[in-house]
């Protein structure tokens, strides 16, 4: 199956946070890093680590008690906010911390591989690709 995924190149990231900024503004109309679907971790000494869903492992999909998480036709893991009961089991089950929640917001959120961050990145640290799952 072909899936869409955001490829991260940590060595190119300079920590400018433009990806975080565009993501939180696009999806929550708020410039707030805590509302971004992508996270930039500062490893110090000029090194950064980008955290974003790899669209492959499906731990969240397996854990969800309402089956609110599914794979879309475009091959992306998406949350159906109507079915979600906000238990946050998916947040806890994500092995890389790519499923997010914001205090008192009803539903958790994650990257849907739209590519807005990749288009904004000044250093090509992010790229939206289509690939065969598991490849």
């Amino acid at each position: 199956m072909v899936i869409k995924v955001l490829v991260t190149r940590h060595d190119k990231c300079i920590g400018c946070m433009s990806c975080v900024s565009v993501c939180s503004k696009l999806y929550s109309r708020d410039e707030n890093p805590a509302k971004s679907r992508i996270m930039v971790e500062n490893l110090s000494k000029g090194a950064f680590h980008l955290v974003v869903c790899d669209q492959e492992c499906e731990a969240c999909l397996r854990e969800c008690p309402t089956k609110a998480i599914s794979r879309s036709k475009a091959g992306i893991l998406v949350i159906d906010s109507k079915s979600c009961v906000g238990c946050l089991a998916c947040v806890a089950s994500c092995p890389i911390g790519a499923m997010h929640w914001y205090p008192a917001a009803a539903v958790p959120f994650k990257c849907v591989a739209c590519g807005a961050c990749a288009r904004t990145c000044p250093r090509d640290a992010l790229e939206l690709v289509s690939k065969e799952a598991g490849a």
Binding site: R62, E63, P65, T66, K67, S83, C84, V85, G86, C87, L88, A89, V91, A92, S93, W101, P103, A104, A106, V107
Partner: protein
Amino acid sequence: MKKIAEWIYEKRPVRRGYNMRTLVVDLGALSLAVTGEALPEAPGWIGEKAVTPEMKRQFVGGKGFGLKLLWDGTRPSTKWNDPENEIVIAMGPLCGNTNYPGSGKSLVVSLSPLTGVPIDSNVGGYFGPFLKFSGFDAMELTGKSPTDLIIFIDGDAGLVEVYESPEDLESDTHILAEKLTRAFAASESEADLASVAVVSAGRGAENSWFGLLNFSFWDRRRGGCRVKQAGRGGIGTVFRDKGIKALVCRYSSLGPDDNGAADPAAFQRIGLKLHREIMALDEGQSRMRTTGTAHLMEIMNDYDLLPVQNHRFGQDPRGPELASWVWRDLFTQGLPDGCWYGCTLACAHAVDRFELSTGPYKGQKVCVDGPEYETAAGVGSNLGIWEPRGILEINFYCDTYGIDTISFGTTTSFLMECWEYDILNVERTGGISLEWGDWKSVCELLHQMAAGKGLGQVAGRGSKYLSTYFVERFDADPRLMKDIALHGKGLEQSQYISKESLAQQGGYYLTNKGPQHDEAWLIFMDMVNNRLPSFEKKAEALHYFPMFRTWFGLQGLCKLPWNDIEPDDNAKWAEPSKVPEHVANYRELYSAMTGEPLSQDDLIRQSERVYNFQRIFNLRVGHGLRKDDYPPYRAMGPVTEMEYLSRQERYDRQLSEKQGLDPGKMSLPEKMAATRKYRQAQYESLADAVYVRRGWSKDGVPTSEHLVELGMDRPELLEVVEAHLQPWSEYQPKKPSGG
């Protein structure tokens, strides 16, 4: 189905955990409509009753509300099958939240057919949370209808409808629950099916005294109904006696924070913390997510605590044949199985496509819910059954017939022991052979019980009834019957060997409803780790743990996420057996829900009020004194020579170390008599210490001063206790009743 009545109510959102109202349904009044007579206007057959601020303060919710409503609705003389006996299903303020694991529990309360005193049973499934979000903190069912009725609460529309149950509608849950789910779902879509929950019993509940209630939930991954049980004390029997075929609730708009929490973000934060703890640590701790409570099987066998042959022994070389890895392989799906949303401990496992080999559904492939530890031990090792398929067969039929596996297991093991001693034989059983391990015969007994025929019908009245019946009918030795019929107040004991732990004997028998392990499980603290060396320490544990654990029942919570998962650093804290970090979680959750602070002392006080109320309720119906708190000797020590000999080294050592006797110079009967005398005296001292700690008289009656201290000096309670209170020094022992 023919609709005979309907009632529209005002829908209101839940606020800070409460609706502040109860739904009351009178089956007796409703039965008028069946015969075509005009129903009285509401509240004649149905209505809502306010939950007053005082009721909320004193009784909190859940089991507290259930007991309060049951008290108000019954008289001291009310028996289980009188119309005024009630079934109350009540939820509690934290029930239904989707963030903290183990938050979907309903508490069901009624006067028990087995004991005559109030029973309370804690159950999962979706009915309770749906009922709560439909607008009610509790549902009170009173009266009795000669025709079977189905009550439907439509939480989407704010409507209650009553239907006459079609005569040909099956009673057995695996058929009934699924049929009704489909009948009352708005459509056949998965979301609509998952919005309906059913409470039902089964044929066995119609014909035995330990009938249970099955609470359904739609399993989206299996695409079928699953059930969890309000198992103990025969509430299903009362349900069918009242002419209730089923309760159905529909609630389609479940979302985050339907409880209306004061601080929903705190719920998310604390819930997430526990989710993460569970996911990181469960596999290395209790393996609830993969094996459920069946993980206890080999632990109990290793520590000589697994019931074998009516609790004669605690260990068997065949123990590994029922070990957790056997069940883990049998459990299917391999995905989290929660009985309410947001429970990542998810212990409700099942075996799919199990082919039945006996009974009315022989040859069919079914989904078996479980087995949990109590079932695997109770109808497995305790009956000498070491074949998993035998246990699965009994498990399935008990569930669908609406029969409690614990009472069934303990009663059947008693019958099997009677068979071994020739008190029963083929003539007396009507042809059923009750050899240890013969699971097909056990199934035959179970099918008879469900059909209300033969030995099964008599056996369905429980261990207490049978122990007297065998004396009267078969000239059995009354002392032996009393010693080996394992019940307290009439309720069959659950499945841990308590003989070698005095504290656990108290945990089982110094209880309100009878020997159920939900009040205190102290075997490891007492027997294995020796943390409770004095009577005072035991008494403190038998105060703290029953009170703390009562709190789950007030809130609508499950006990398992409290200590079947523990923080990584739990052992570093003072009193690790209390799991202090999780206790702090509960206090925070309560405050986040209600907006009111809750100290550690407040938490225990909330429980103490209800616990003492329940004790006084027992007194009110004639069973709440010291004489009602004694175990049968099987729960305390070796009844038979073979039991003594199986642990001879231990018992001989205790004679010399604890009593200064020389076992080498004593005959076996002398050694057994000395052991018995010593252990019974120890239990008396334990009861004394526990009663003092609980603020009770030597006869086990809560004192007026203690009620004042608790803020429970309600006139109706003082009236009951004052009729029984006497100074400690004037107490005269009475003959133990029951056990």
